[in-house]
C-alpha cells in the first residue's frame, strides 16, 4: 500500500504553452489538469465544480478546443497549448462576450462564468449565428445555479449578432 503511495507522489515534469507562454511544472501522475492549473500555475479562474465532467466549470481551451480540465490528467496535456480564462481575458479575444455578460448581468456568483465564456467562445467560433435553441443546446453541459440561463443566452445571441454585423460591414466595399 505505502509503496503505491510513494509511486503516486513521484513527480513528472510536464511542459505546456499556457496563455501563450511556455511553462514547465512538476506534477504527480494522478494530478488532474484542473488541479495543476489551479495549484501549480495559480490560474484560479478555472474552477472545479463536480470533478466528473458534468458541470463545465473547469472548461479550458486545449489546442483550440474546449475541454474539461477535470477529466484529464496533467501529464496527458504535456506539450499542449492551453488557454484559460485569464489568458482569454488578457488577449481581448472574448472582450465582447465579457462586456455583454456584464451589461446583461449574465452572471451572479461567477463560479460558472469562466466555463460559460469558454464554451460560448467555442460555440461562436464554430457557428456564426446560432439560434437560441442552438445556444441553449451548446450550454447544456454548463451548470449555472444562479441566473436561470436566459441572460446568458441573450448575451451570447447579442454578441453573435454584433460579430455578424461587423463581419458583413468588413465584407462590404465601404
Amino acid at each position: 500500500m505505502s509503496s503505491d503511495i510513494d509511486e503516486a507522489e513521484e513527480a513528472v515534469r510536464v511542459r505546456f504553452i499556457v496563455n501563450g507562454r511556455k511553462v514547465a511544472c512538476e506534477v504527480a501522475p494522478r494530478d488532474t489538469l484542473v488541479d495543476c492549473l489551479r495549484n501549480s500555475l495559480e490560474l484560479t479562474g478555472t474552477h472545479a465544480g463536480c470533478e466528473m465532467g458534468a458541470c463545465g466549470a473547469c472548461l479550458v481551451r486545449l489546442d483550440g478546443r474546449a475541454v474539461h480540465a477535470c477529466l484529464m490528467f496533467a501529464v496527458q496535456a504535456d506539450g499542449a497549448r492551453i488557454d484559460t480564462i485569464e489568458g482569454l481575458s488578457e488577449s481581448g479575444d472574448i472582450a465582447d462576450l465579457q462586456a455583454e455578460f456584464h451589461r446583461r448581468n449574465a452572471l451572479q456568483c461567477g463560479f460558472c462564468t469562466p466555463g460559460m465564456l469558454i464554451n460560448a467562445h467555442e460555440l461562436l467560433s464554430r457557428l456564426a449565428e446560432p439560434s437560441r435553441a442552438a445556444i441553449r443546446d451548446a450550454l447544456s453541459g454548463n451548470f449555472c445555479r444562479c441566473t436561470g440561463y436566459e441572460a446568458i443566452v441573450d448575451a451570447i445571441a447579442a454578441v453573435a449578432d454584433a460579430r455578424a454585423a461587423k463581419a458583413s460591414q468588413k465584407g462590404s466595399p465601404e
Binding site: H47, S89, Q108, F111, E150
Partner: protein, 790 residues
C-alpha cells in the same frame, strides 16, 4: 417628448438598471473564492465518512494513517470534544422541540451515511485522502430509520436512543370554526401531496480555511458563508475565544441560497483542527461529499382538505404536514422553520377565516435538512394552488376566475391571515390581471384547445404566492438565537472626496454591493463609481444579520440609506460653515455642494474633505467634522414585510414518454420599491429555475438502508440551459411604509411558486386523460404512472 421621471434627477440610481460594478473581475476569472485561497504553511483536511446510516463505532485504528509521511494529525471525535463545546439545534419559541447535542465529529455513533467520522490533516488533500484509506473502523450496524412514515410509526426503533420518540417537534394552528365550515360546505376537496427531498447544489461547494494563531490567540476563518457575523459568534462561543479575536471573512462566494449559513460538522472540525495544530487548515467539500453532507430540504408529506361554497369561495382549510429532517435539528436556525412556514403560509393569498393545521417534524437517519431558498414556500404554495385548481375543476370555474373570487382584495389592507401573519399591503388582484395580460391567457387557451384536437397535450398553470421578507427579531431572536435582524454600516467621505461604505449585508452574486452603492450614491448625490462598498469581513463592518430571508435590499438597503443621509447632513454642516450658508440652503449633486434652489455649484465635496482632514485649523473653533458615520437599522413595525405575486407557465406533456417540456414561464412580482430592475429580474429568473428544478428533476433518492443513490452531478438532475424556458417578468410596486426606502425582498419569489405552477400546468395537460399528479418532482415515470402506462 417623454415626461420627466424621478430617474431624470441627477444621481438618481434607485430604480435604475445598472450593471454590477464588482462583476467584471468575476468575468475575467479574477474572483477570489475560498476554494482559491492558499495561506503560508496551510494544511489540508479530509474526512472519513460513515458507510452506514446508523451504526455504533466499535473500534478505530488510525495508527497507519498517522504514520503516513505528510500526515500531521488524525483527529477523532474525542480529540475535538476536548476543545469544542457541543451545540443543540433548538430554539425557545418552538415549544417542546428536542434535538440531540452535536459535536464536530461523533464520539461513538454515526447517524447518517456520509457523516464525517474522523479527520486527517496533511500536507495536501491527496495525502490526506491516502491516509483515510489506511484507517480502519469497526462498525456495529443499528437499525436505520429511512422512511418518513416509518419514522412516525409507534414502536419504530429510535434515531436517537436517548430520546423518547422520533418526534422533533409538533405544532398546531387552529383559528376556530373549521369543523363548522366543513359541515356547511357545498364541496370538500381532499388531496395528499408528497415532495421530494432536494439540495441546493451551489456550484462552489462548501469551503473553509481556518487559521488559528496561538501566539496572538486570534482565529481568522475564511469561510464561504452568507453570515460571517453568526459564525464569528459561534466560533467564539464554542471554542471559547473572545469574540473580538475571531475574524470571519467571506470573500467571493460561489452561490449559497441558504446552504452556507448553517453549521456543518466538518466546518466546525476544521476550526478545531487549526487550533490543535496552530496552522491554517483548509477544507473544500468535493461534489460527492456535498451531496451527503450539505443540507437537504423539502421532504414533506401533506394531507389537505379545503371547504368551498357553491360559488367557489374558500371557507376553510385543514392540513397536516409531516416532514423528516435527518437525525437532528440543524444549528443554529433549526430544521423546523421550513415546516413552520409551510403550515403558516398555506392559504396565505386567500380571504378565508377558518384554518387548522398540524405539523409533525420527525427524525430519520439521513443528512440534516434546513433552510434553503424560499423556505417552506414551495410546499405551501403547491398545496394551496393545487387545492384551488381542484376546487375550480370541481365547480367548473376557470383558474383565474376562482382566484379572482378568493384572493384578499387589494383594498382590504392592512389585514391578517388566519395563521396570524399580518399583511401591510399586497396586490393580488392587480397581479392577477397583469399575469392574464402578459400570458395572453385567452390566446393560450385557444391554442391549447386547438392542439388537443391534434393529440398535442399542453397545459397552463398559474400559482399565486406570498413571500416572507425583511424578518424582524420575531424570526430567530425571540427564540434565543444570536442571529441579528438589524444591520450596520460605516460610511465615510474619504480625503479625496469619494465615499466608502462598509456594511454588514453580504454578497453572493445577487448584487448586494451594487444596490448598496446605488442607494448611497443616490442619497448622497454623487456618481456611483465614486462609492466603494465593502462587505463580508467581521473585522471591518459593524455586526449585522447579513444576507438571508430576503433581507439584503429591505434592511441592508435602509441601513445604507439612513447612513448616507446622516453623512450628507454632516458634509453639508461643514459646507455651510465654509460657505457661510444655512445647511438647508445647500444640497449635493454630482459630488458638488450646490445651492439647493438654483443647483448652482458652490464647492466640491472633495474640497470639504480636504479642509476637514488637512486644514481643520481653517474651520471655526470648536468645529469637529464628522465625515465617518456608523449607523444601525433594525426593522420595526410589521414583523415581516410580505411580498406577493403570481406565476404562470405553459408546458407540453408527451403522453407516450411522460416527458414534460417547459414552453414559457411568466411572473408578476411585487417586491415594493425596486432598486435595480435588472437585478430583480435576474433574481426572479434564477429563483424560478431553482423551482423548476424541484418541479421536474431534483430529488435525493435513498435506498432502504439509507444510502443516497444519486449523490453526484451525473445522477442528480439539475436544470440545465436546454430544458429551461424563457421567463417573462412584470412588476407591481407596493412599497412598504415601514422604511424610507420602501424595498422588500425578491430573491425567493421565483422559487416560491414555480413548482406549484408546473404541477398545475401538468395536471391541466393531463385533464383529458382524467389523470392527476400530486407529487414533485414530476418525473416521466410519475406521468406515465398517472396515465396508467407504467
Amino acid at each position: 417628448m417623454t415626461p420627466l421621471t424621478s430617474l431624470d434627477r441627477p444621481n438618481s440610481y434607485i430604480g435604475r438598471s445598472v450593471p454590477r460594478p464588482n462583476a467584471k473581475r468575476l468575468l475575467a476569472g479574477r474572483g477570489r473564492y475560498v476554494t482559491d485561497i492558499r495561506l503560508p504553511r496551510m494544511l489540508h483536511a479530509a474526512f472519513l465518512r460513515s458507510p452506514y446510516a446508523h451504526a455504533r463505532i466499535a473500534r478505530v485504528d488510525v495508527d497507519a494513517a498517522r504514520a503516513l509521511a505528510g500526515v500531521h494529525l488524525v483527529a477523532t471525535g474525542a480529540d475535538l470534544a476536548k476543545i469544542c463545546t457541543p451545540w443543540t439545534g433548538t430554539l425557545d419559541h418552538f415549544k417542546g422541540m428536542t434535538s440531540e447535542p452535536q459535536l464536530p465529529l461523533p464520539l461513538d455513533r454515526v447517524v447518517w451515511a456520509g457523516q464525517a467520522v474522523l479527520a486527517v490533516v496533511a500536507e495536501s488533500r491527496a495525502i490526506a485522502e491516502d491516509a483515510l484509506e489506511l484507517i480502519s473502523v469497526d462498525y456495529e450496524e443499528l437499525p436505520a430509520i429511512v422512511d418518513l412514515d416509518a419514522a412516525r410509526e409507534p414502536g419504530t426503533p429510535r434515531v436517537n436512543p436517548a430520546g423518547s420518540s422520533n418526534i422533533c417537534f409538533r405544532a398546531q394552528l387552529d383559528s376556530g370554526g373549521v369543523d363548522e365550515a366543513f359541515a356547511s360546505a357545498a364541496h370538500i376537496i381532499e388531496e395528499e401531496f408528497s415532495f421530494g427531498r432536494h439540495t441546493p447544489v451551489t456550484l462552489e461547494p462548501r469551503a473553509i480555511v481556518a487559521d488559528y494563531d496561538p501566539d496572538g490567540g486570534m482565529l481568522t476563518v475564511h469561510h464561504a458563508t452568507q453570515t460571517p457575523y453568526q459564525f464569528q459568534d459561534l466560533y467564539s462561543r464554542h471554542y471559547r475565544i473572545p469574540e473580538a479575536r475571531v475574524r470571519v471573512i467571506a470573500p467571493d462566494i460561489g452561490g449559497s441560497f441558504g446552504l452556507k449559513l448553517h453549521v456543518y460538522h466538518e466546518d466546525m472540525a476544521v476550526v478545531g483542527l487549526s487550533i490543535l495544530l496552530g496552522r491554517p487548515v483548509k477544507f473544500v467539500a468535493d461534489r460527492l461529499e456535498s451531496f451527503v453532507s450539505d443540507i437537504h430540504a423539502r421532504d414533506h408529506h401533506v394531507r389537505a382538505r379545503m371547504a368551498i361554497d357553491a360559488d367557489g369561495r374558500i371557507l376553510a382549510m385543514d392540513v397536516h404536514d409531516a416532514t423528516a429532517i435527518g437525525a437532528f435539528s440543524t444549528y443554529p436556525r433549526t430544521s423546523v422553520v421550513e415546516g413552520n412556514q409551510v403550515i403558516r403560509l398555506i392559504g396565505a393569498p386567500y380571504d378565508f377565516k377558518s384554518y387548522r393545521a398540524a405539523l409533525e417534524v420527525v427524525f430519520q437517519n439521513k443528512v440534516q435538512t434546513s433552510q434553503y431558498r424560499a423556505v417552506g414556500h414551495p410546499i405551501a404554495c403547491a398545496v394551496t394552488e393545487r387545492m384551488v385548481d381542484l376546487a375550480a375543476a370541481r365547480i367548473g370555474l376557470d383558474p383565474f376566475a376562482i382566484r379572482a373570487k378568493n384572493v384578499i382584495p387589494d383594498d382590504a389592507y392592512p389585514t391578517a391571515s388566519p395563521t396570524g401573519y399580518r399583511f401591510e399591503s399586497l396586490s393580488h388582484q392587480v397581479c392577477l390581471q397583469r399575469l392574464r395580460e402578459i400570458m395572453d391567457y385567452d390566446a393560450l387557451r385557444a391554442e391549447q384547445s386547438e392542439l388537443r384536437q391534434r393529440g398535442i397535450h399542453r397545459g397552463i398553470g398559474i400559482a399565486t404566492f406570498v413571500e416572507i421578507t425583511n424578518p424582524s427579531p420575531a424570526f430567530y431572536g425571540v427564540g434565543g438565537a444570536r442571529i441579528s435582524s438589524q444591520d450596520g454600516a460605516t460610511i465615510s467621505l474619504t480625503p479625496s472626496g469619494e465615499v466608502r461604505c462598509a456594511i454588514s449585508v453580504t454578497e453572493q452574486g445577487q448584487g448586494t454591493e451594487a444596490i448598496i452603492s446605488q442607494i448611497v450614491a443616490d442619497q448622497l448625490g454623487l456618481a456611483q463609481e465614486h462609492v466603494k462598498v465593502i462587505t463580508g469581513d467581521t473585522e471591518v463592518t459593524p455586526h449585522g444579520g447579513a444576507t438571508w430571508a430576503c433581507r439584503g435590499a429591505g434592511i441592508g438597503g435602509e441601513t445604507a440609506l439612513q447612513a448616507a443621509r446622516k453623512l450628507k447632513a454632516n458634509i453639508l454642516e461643514i459646507a455651510a460653515l465654509v460657505l457661510q450658508e444655512q445647511p438647508a440652503a445647500l444640497n449635493i449633486i454630482d459630488g458638488e455642494v450646490v445651492n439647493a434652489a438654483t443647483r448652482q455649484p458652490r464647492l466640491a465635496i472633495a474640497e470639504i474633505a480636504r479642509i476637514a482632514y488637512f486644514r481643520s485649523d481653517t474651520l471655526p473653533p470648536g468645529t469637529q467634522a464628522q465625515l465617518t458615520v456608523s449607523h444601525h437599522f433594525a426593522p420595526q413595525g410589521y414583523p415581516f414585510a410580505f411580498t406577493n405575486g403570481i406565476q404562470g407557465c405553459y408546458v407540453e406533456v408527451d403522453a407516450d414518454t411522460g416527458f414534460i417540456k417547459l414552453l414559457k414561464h411568466f411572473v408578476v412580482e411585487d417586491c415594493g420599491r425596486i432598486i435595480n430592475p435588472m437585478l430583480v429580474d435576474e433574481q426572479v429568473r434564477g429563483g424560478v429555475v431553482q423551482g423548476l428544478g424541484a418541479a421536474l428533476f431534483e430529488e435525493c433518492r435513498y435506498g432502504e438502508t439509507g444510502q443516497l443513490l444519486n449523490g453526484s452531478l451525473a445522477d442528480y438532475l439539475v436544470p440545465m440551459a436546454m430544458e429551461m424556458p424563457d421567463i417573462v417578468i412584470a412588476h407591481v410596486e407596493t412599497p412598504t411604509a415601514d422604511t424610507a426606502l420602501g424595498a422588500k425582498g425578491c430573491g425567493e419569489a421565483g422559487t416560491a411558486a414555480a413548482s406549484a405552477c408546473v404541477l398545475n400546468a401538468v395536471n391541466d395537460a393531463l385533464a383529458p386523460f382524467c389523470a392527476s399528479i400530486n407529487a414533485v418532482p414530476i418525473t416521466p415515470a410519475r406521468v406515465l404512472e398517472a396515465l396508467g402506462r407504467f
